[in-house]
């Protein structure tokens, strides 16, 4: 009965996956064939359309995880624990990608793989370390309500950490701004076609994150259900 109704209507993950495939193909096409080459940085500037959307997706995933952590502590609904954990998990994947793409870009345009003077780079590293610690904590506690609570508490501490890191690192650096300023108070600091490409790439990345989220959520739920069924079967036998 349940399976039948799922077949009749495509579920969220399928829709998201289709949207991601379309958007990603469109974004790749625009990045390599449509958008003009940057005057200053040349061809290599195109990594911008990967790097920045991935970084923004990481931040979004983090906020998503923290919001669901707060909701978990409020409502005590076990499914919210999963909904908080999965964005954090995906955040580590996207975070690693941000550091990797950023590092490649830094090597090409600044000549170094890493530059400590840069605010965004350093802040991102702090967040990444925080995310790793979240995992260590989560896998050191037995599954159950306690693990859910501890993970949620730690995730919420991150909400305090991130603005402080941005502020602190900005205070302490000697105002060395080598990270390109893409957005300022006057809006986007780029050409119309570049901005359009950027938006499409961002949409593609976000929808990829949503797809991965839905797939992982479904996997984890099936996992839980199988475990429950097995327990039931063992109890009967």
């Amino acid at each position: 009965m349940v399976i039948g109704s799922q077949r009749a209507r495509p579920d969220g993950a399928t829709v998201a996956a289709t949207a991601t495939a379309v958007l990603m193909a469109l974004a790749l096409g625009m990045i390599f064939f449509y958008v003009p080459t940057d005057v200053d940085q040349g061809y290599s500037q195109r990594i911008f359309y990967f790097h920045v959307p991935i970084a923004l997706t990481t931040y979004t995933l983090f906020v998503w995880g923290a919001v669901n952590a707060a909701r978990y502590l409020w409502r005590r609904d076990q499914s919210l624990d999963l909904k908080s954990y999965i964005p954090m998990h995906l955040g580590v994947i996207f975070g690693s990608l941000t550091l990797a793409t950023g590092s490649i870009w830094a090597r090409i345009s600044w000549g170094h793989w890493w530059f400590w003077g840069d605010t965004q780079l350093t802040t991102f590293l702090i967040i990444f370390l925080f995310n790793c610690a979240y995992f260590m904590l989560r896998f050191s506690v037995e599954p159950g309500e306690r693990r859910a609570t501890y993970s949620a508490v730690y995730a919420l501490l991150g909400v305090g950490l991130i603005p402080l890191s941005v502020l602190g690192v900005r205070f302490a650096q000697r105002n060395e701004l080598i990270h390109p300023i893409t957005f300022n108070s006057n809006g986007a600091n780029m050409d119309g076609s570049m901005f359009l490409t950027f938006l499409v790439a961002l949409a593609a990345m976000l929808s990829l994150a949503v797809t991965m989220y839905l797939v992982e959520l479904r996997g984890k739920r099936i996992d839980d259900r199988i475990r429950a069924i097995r327990r039931l079967a063992e109890a009967r036998a």
Partner: protein
């Protein structure tokens, strides 16, 4: 408030009778400073007092880790948790008492460590402004104690807690140390960092406020069972 006072008294009394934490922290601080001294190249310090002041903060962080790992150790080892939790006392009072005790231990250790630091590193060059350094240390201690007590509570029921606590704690130290080092080092010879002393101290106070509020609000969830 009465619960807080009683719990704080218990923590201080236990330390006074057992003397297990503060002497260990003092020995650690001394050892770490000697290590830094040799690590930076023997007689003349590479980088001078600027490098030394930066490293003082690293030593401070690692020393505070020692205090945090032992935090709630008595409660755990002697089964005091159940007794504590069965009292009608507000859970936040447990956190506040623990944070206050940790703050006092840290301040006490630094009261000894700071003259040593001067003796080892600062005689031969320009010293950072001592009032700023003391104010920054006290503000940092407060933040470390409040955040650390919450994390120590989290780590109480966790596997491999001695390893996990530093891993959870260090990311939170990065913004603190970044600002504290810049703040104190800049008083030696001002650089064009654009960081005023009031800004730096204000940041540390903001740090304390944020983690004070978070610790106070979240500790209840940590010890609920």
């Amino acid at each position: 408030m009465r619960a807080y006072r009683a719990l704080l008294r218990k923590d201080l009394l236990l330390e006074w009778r057992g003397r297990e934490l503060v002497p260990a922290m003092l020995a650690f601080v001394l050892g770490a400073m000697v290590l830094v001294r040799f690590g930076l190249g023997g007689e003349t310090l590479a980088g001078g007092t600027r490098a030394a002041t930066g490293l003082l903060w690293v030593v401070v962080v690692f020393t505070s880790m020692l205090a945090l790992v032992r935090s709630f150790a008595q409660e755990r080892e002697h089964g005091i948790w159940d007794g504590l939790l069965s009292t009608p006392a507000d859970r936040s009072a447990i956190w506040a008492a623990r944070a206050t005790a940790t703050f006092l231990f840290l301040a006490l250790t630094q009261a000894v460590a700071l003259p040593l630091f001067w003796l080892f590193f600062l005689q031969e060059g320009r010293s950072p402004s001592i009032p700023v350094l003391v104010a920054a240390l006290l503000l940092a201690d407060l933040g470390v104690a409040m955040l650390g007590s919450l994390l120590a509570g989290l780590a109480t029921h966790v596997r491999a807690r001695e390893v996990l606590l530093p891993v959870m704690f260090l990311p939170f130290m990065l913004p603190l140390v970044t600002v504290a080092v810049r703040l104190t080092v800049d008083t030696i010879s001002p650089q064009t960092s654009g960081l005023h002393t009031s800004q730096g101290l204000g940041f540390l106070a903001l740090y304390d406020t944020i983690f004070g509020l978070l610790g106070w609000a979240l500790f209840e969830y940590v010890v609920e069972d």
